[in-house]
């Protein structure tokens, strides 16, 4: 099913999504990679202020190529980075900040899958590295945080988006994961491949 959603996302929006659905999203998202996850969680633990509301935006695993122009920053290329690096703390992040959609590539693990179910959130896949196409749906850089501290790739970029997608829901809020399902068949295929190698010269 193809859906068009707008941030802020509601629990109802999210629970209606299932693995295999296609989504275009408009509104706002923030980028966060390894360093931004660490930094934001540290700030939350120390009761320091987070200067934006992560619960009202989609989270994008991305470190963009940006250019500073007279009118401000412009995003040149912005596809997703490898999400599994954030598996370390995505469950805590979702619980702490109430973010309802994680956009990335490659999928995530069991800890995140459990957190998605509990927090009412989804993981949406966008093909990795498809940065020039993705940038066309980013209409404006609304803000950037911690740029001096952690640099361009790791900083949190607040991005206005228009029909960002197509995203494919690959992990939903009902405990289903495309990756987990595929793992089973890939394991069987690998066993057959091992047999062929053993038989070969």
């Amino acid at each position: 099913m193809n859906k068009f959603l707008h941030t802020p996302l509601t629990e109802e929006d999210i629970r209606a999504l299932h693995v295999g659905d296609t989504v275009h999203i408009s509104g706002r998202m923030f980028t966060a990679r390894d360093e931004a996850h660490r930094l934001m969680l540290e700030r939350r633990e120390n009761d320091e202020e987070i200067p934006f509301d992560p619960s009202k935006m989609a989270l994008f695993h991305c470190g963009p190529v940006v250019k500073k122009e007279d009118a401000g920053w412009r995003v040149i290329s912005a596809g997703p980075t490898t999400s599994i690096r954030m598996e370390l703390f995505e469950d805590r992040f979702l619980t702490a900040f109430g973010t309802k959609m994680v956009i990335g590539k490659g999928g995530m693990g069991d800890k995140t899958l459990a957190a998605l179910r509990k927090a009412g959130a989804v993981y949406a896949h966008y093909p990795g590295g498809v940065g020039a196409l993705a940038a066309q749906a980013i209409t404006r850089v609304a803000n950037v945080y911690w740029l001096d501290e952690i640099g361009i790739p790791e900083a949190v970029w607040i991005l206005d988006i228009e029909l960002f997608g197509p995203l494919t829901i690959t992990m939903d809020s009902h405990g289903k994961s495309l990756y987990r399902d595929l793992e089973e068949s890939i394991k069987k295929n690998l066993e057959r491949i091992h047999e062929q190698i053993a038989k070969g010269a």
């Binding site: 360093e35 290329s77 912005a78 980075t81 490659g106 940065g131 196409l133 595929l182 062929q196």
Partner: protein, 287 residues
């Protein structure tokens, strides 16, 4: 004057590598799209191909991870340009970062400080091989971290033999699943030593997709590994499908009788490489 022209050529090569994928890779991706049957797998390749076209037409980086730049130089010992190349390459990288623009990727490993220009200690990485003659051939590779993080080295027992090599490659590539942005190219370096096997793997991915090793036995092994990897079902971006890999390239060196090193270099679909040739008169060709 010549130096400025050389730097311009290097700058152009870096820009073209970031924005325009070699035709052999694009053709292989198109072929992969034609054979996929699942809609989801087709969608991945369709978006990748659309993206490649947007990047080329607009001269913008196809992937936000513009990578770490490596320059493999076959340096003719009689070339008059060897003295200035390191400086010119370094300047071209800094300038490309500003004008293409590239993402400033190099960071200090301990302080995390990012100089903002893709330079740093040993960066950009320049690999020199001295050869006869007066010509210089520079192979530029712009490789992102998603696939670089999926490279591996294993010191096999020599008795494991070719079967052991096949099993290691298959287990590793299947284990990486969709993380390194398949379908791409797998470079396998065999023999030499720990460092040389990985380097040979990297040199192997500089070859065109579809090209075969001149030794028929090695060429056969390349095709066999390609076929086995594509039986895994991982598919484009790991969403399931018949194309996990576009090609396998193998390079080898003689080894110590007691060790069988195997280096695996995983290259994502954004297989960004460029060649710059400089002859003795300073004529430059970028392709």
């Amino acid at each position: 004057m010549k130096n400025r022209e050389l730097k311009e050529a290097l700058l152009m090569a870096i820009k073209q590598a970031a924005t325009t994928l070699p035709a052999d890779v694009v053709d292989a991706l198109k072929q992969a799209k034609a054979v996929e049957t699942s809609e989801l797998a087709k969608l991945q390749l369709e978006m990748i191909l659309h993206n490649i076209e947007i990047a080329r037409a607009g001269s913008v980086p196809m992937c936000q991870d513009t990578g770490i730049l490596t320059f493999f130089i076959k340096a003719g010992v009689d070339s008059p340009y060897l003295r200035c190349l390191r400086t010119l390459i370094t300047e071209a990288v800094a300038e490309a970062t500003r004008v293409v623009p590239l993402r400033p990727n190099t960071v200090h490993p301990f302080t995390f400080k990012n100089p903002g220009n893709n330079l740093g200690r040993f960066m950009p990485h320049i690999d020199w091989e001295l050869v006869d003659g007066d010509e210089v051939v520079i192979s530029l590779l712009a490789k992102g971290a998603g696939s670089e993080n999926c490279c591996a080295l294993k010191m096999l027992l020599p008795v494991a033999g070719v079967k052991g090599v096949k099993k290691f490659v298959l287990d590793h590539v299947v284990g990486c699943a969709g993380q390194p942005c398949p379908p791409g190219v797998i470079g396998v370096g065999i023999g030499g030593g720990a460092d040389l096997s990985l380097k040979l793997g990297k040199l192997a991915i500089l070859r065109d997709v579809g090209s075969r090793h001149p030794d028929p036995a090695i060429a056969g092994l390349e095709l066999e590994l390609l076929e086995l990897i594509n039986q895994s079902g991982i598919g484009p971006m790991g969403v399931g499908g018949v194309t996990t890999c576009l090609d396998v390239h193998i390079e080898y060196a003689h080894r110590h009788p007691s060790s069988l090193p195997v280096g695996i270099i995983y290259q994502c679909w954004a297989d960004r490489r460029k060649k710059v040739k400089i002859d003795a008169n300073g004529r430059v060709e970028v392709r």
